[in-house]
């Protein structure tokens, strides 16, 4: 799920940037530092949307660097148990398949793949119904539901299921939905 939240961060800046473009520099550093990062609590920082406030800088003893407390708005993405996600399959094996929803890695084990879909090894491994009408392989688009997550300080992993109504294949490789 996406959230628009306010976060704070202390940015350290070298004195050579002090000048008319100080604010720009801080903003670009902020974006560089936080976008794409992940914290267990907030999830993945997708985009910084606004800088609310930049506090007074504090000179660090001995280095000359200055620390600015920056308060900013950003969009974060945090998966939750029970959530439905659209994802793209990245790898298929006999244990199940891996998929990605943006930055989140999801594993769907064959326990949570409908029983009428069987694993087919081969050049392009896949899960397929016996009549061949539904086929999940690498790059397939799949709608799944999160059944469990592991949240670390810097990473989030999910276990998903497609064994339910309205879950499963939504698009074949190539994006023709």
């Amino acid at each position: 799920m996406f959230f628009h939240i306010i976060l704070e961060r202390n940015l350290q800046l070298h004195p050579r940037y002090f000048g008319p473009h100080l604010r720009d520099k801080l903003v670009s550093k902020l974006i560089h530092d936080v976008e794409g990062t992940c914290s267990g609590r907030h999830g993945f920082v997708v985009a910084v949307t606004a800088v609310e406030n930049i506090g007074k800088g504090l000179i660090r003893d001995g280095t000359g660097y200055v620390t600015f407390p920056v308060k900013y708005q950003c969009v974060v993405f945090r998966p939750f148990k029970g959530e439905i996600l659209e994802s793209v399959v990245t790898m298929v094996n006999k244990m199940g398949f891996f998929a990605e929803a943006g930055p989140v890695q999801i594993f769907v084990s064959n326990h949570l793949i409908p029983d009428d879909m069987a694993f087919q090894a081969g050049d392009v491994p896949c899960y397929e119904t016996s009549d061949g009408s539904v086929r999940i392989q690498k790059d397939s688009e799949v709608r799944l539901k999160i059944v469990g997550t592991r949240v670390d300080a810097t990473e989030i992993f999910c276990i998903g299921t497609i064994k339910d109504d309205f879950l499963g294949l939504t698009g074949d490789p190539g994006g023709a939905a």
Partner: protein, 559 residues
């Protein structure tokens, strides 16, 4: 990074991975409402276990069931306001909290409305619990990925020790399966693979498919030879690749090879600077893999390190079509210095193993086809106490009559016999779904045909006074090969095995026109899977240890 609700100076919540309880969105919101802070991780949250989270979840749904949507929203906001006065959020915090809750309201609202909502229908949750499939429900958990159960999604309980499971790092770094689940997968797989008329083949790397030698173990004269051989006197393609290796960026090197700095020479000789190593692929290996892949799903299983195993797999199978994702190395083994099929997701009745070392497979000897060791490099021979090497003699195994060509023939017969019997048994008992045929019967039965019809007498092979010669390894080997061993000479004896010509039995053989062979004749039969020409294994006048360079045919290398 610090959230608004907590003290700004506090570091990111790296202290402890938060419990899965807080991953459940509803539980998280509940928690927040209690604590009055977004994403607040209460100290209790780590003590939360999944069941409690679930309970909180359900309580919540029950709580709200009697309220209409508006009432629900009001309640949430109220509780937010009430609670947040206890903590000390700033104005913007409050805004944020409202925002956060607005998005959560959507979710909770949906949860609560339930009936016709697909996504957060609580009934749906129950259905998942009930329909968890491919047999059984949690616990016991079938396995864990990233420490999360692959069926029910709970965190791995701390008391669920690794002893109950098999880590399958070669499939995925973080995957671990219970033994029961592994057994289930094996049975599932077996049906599938048999329907494709395939079996499993486990391939050892060193001395079976290839031979490697570290740079520093290569003697100077061998170095000269290798360099010449590597670059080739070359014409055509060979010449091109030589040039390429010198410049280190050849158009005919694959990208992967360029990245790892691997340089390809002639006839499967490679230089791997990152490993400080020469590697020579066994002649015939590419044809072998191609043809074996039609009959088998193949694994590589080596006692080498993972990086080495993957580098070798890359040389043997650049496109990854033979054993991608099925490369098992030292770290994957469940026992030190022992290879076991427990890490292989294949039914043992359908596995053929190709390895040069019988000792590492204590549980699976009947699955094993022992390969004659491929020693190309001198250092490799020295490790086994042998004097000469193919490289030193400027020789290599023959393509058509080398170890791998022999192995391929054996694999063909194993496959053919297995499925011939398989089909027959299936016809005999239609409806029975038992795994009907076992490779562990097929391999010994084929082996027992090799020396069938030979009656062997041993002459001074065994220590004097050995109580029961039947237990001697050579006796047992000969019998496993289908020969009949007898203790004393009679008319039916066909072969006398001796170390020198001077014994009574050896003389009897000469006088009566029976074969007199050196004991290595039996070894040759074992490795070559045929009755070897007796003339190639003569017995000298005086006792010799007789060491052949190779039972397989060798050919000269022309520089």
């Amino acid at each position: 990074m610090s959230s608004i609700g907590s003290v700004p100076a506090s570091p990111s919540p790296s202290a402890s991975p938060s419990s899965s309880a807080s991953d459940d969105f509803a539980a998280l919101v509940e928690e927040e409402i209690l604590a009055g802070s977004p994403f607040h991780s209460s100290p209790d949250s780590d003590l939360f276990n999944e069941k409690e989270a679930q309970r909180v979840d359900e309580d919540e749904i029950i709580d709200h069931e009697n309220e209409d949507d508006d009432g629900f929203e009001d309640k949430e906001n109220e509780s937010l306001e009430n609670e947040s006065t206890d903590s000390e959020p700033g104005a913007s915090d409050f805004e944020l909290q409202r925002k956060r809750l607005r998005s959560s309201e959507v979710v909770l609202g949906k949860r609560q409305r339930g009936v016709d909502d697909l996504q957060f229908n609580s009934d749906n949750d129950d259905k998942i619990e009930a329909s968890v499939g491919r047999g059984g429900s949690c616990p016991p958990h079938p396995g864990f990925m990233w420490g999360v159960c692959i069926r029910c999604g709970v965190m791995k309980p701390s008391d669920d020790s690794i002893e109950n499971g098999v880590a399958l790092r070669y499939i995925h770094e973080e995957l671990e399966l219970s033994r029961k689940e592994a057994a289930r997968l094996r049975q599932d797989e077996l049906k599938q693979i048999l329907s494709k008329r395939k079996l499993y083949l486990i391939l050892d790397l060193d001395h079976t498919l290839l031979n490697s030698s570290r740079f520093q173990e290569v003697p100077p004269e061998e170095q000269t030879f290798l360099t010449a051989f590597f670059q080739g006197a070359g014409s055509g393609e060979d010449g091109k690749s030589t040039k390429a290796s010198e410049e280190n960026t050849g158009p005919d090197l694959t990208t992967a090879e360029q990245n790892s700095g691997v340089q390809a020479g002639r006839e499967g000789l490679y230089m791997l600077p990152s490993f400080h190593m020469w590697t020579k692929l066994r002649p015939f290996v590419h044809r072998f893999l191609e043809q074996a892949s039609n009959m088998f799903e193949m694994y590589v299983y080596t006692m080498g390190e993972r990086a080495y195993a993957l580098a070798m797999a890359q040389l043997l199978d650049p496109s990854g079509r033979y054993f991608k994702g099925r490369v098992i190395s030292k770290a994957d083994s469940t026992h030190r210095n022992i290879k076991d099929l427990d890490v292989v997701l294949s039914a043992e009745s359908a596995v053929v193993i190709l390895d040069d070392t019988e000792g590492v497979w204590p549980r699976h000897r009947d699955n094993l086809i022992v390969m004659e060791r491929y020693h190309f490099f001198t250092s490799s021979c020295r490790h086994f106490g042998l004097e000469s090497s193919l490289s030193r003699e400027h020789k290599d195994e023959s393509e058509s009559e080398g170890g791998l060509a022999t192995a391929l023939k054996v694999l063909h017969s194993v496959h053919e016999t297995f499925f011939h019997d398989f089909d027959q048994v299936r016809e005999d008992c239609i409806g029975s779904s038992d795994p009907v045929k076992d490779v562990r019967q097929v391999i010994p039965s084929l082996r027992a045909k090799i020396l069938m019809g030979c009656r062997i007498v041993f002459s001074r092979i065994f220590p004097v006074g050995l109580a029961n010669p039947e237990s001697h390894p050579l006796w047992q080997l000969a019998e496993a090969l289908g020969a009949q061993c007898v203790a004393s000479i009679d008319d039916s004896v066909t072969h006398v095995v001796a170390l020198d010509r001077g014994t009574d039995k050896a003389r009897w053989a000469k006088q009566n026109g029976r074969f007199l062979v050196h004991p290595s004749w039996i070894d040759a039969a074992y490795y070559r899977w045929c009755c070897p020409h007796e003339e190639d294994f003569p017995v000298a006048d005086v006792q010799t240890k007789y060491m052949k360079l190779s039972f397989s045919k060798t050919v000269d290398i022309c520089l």
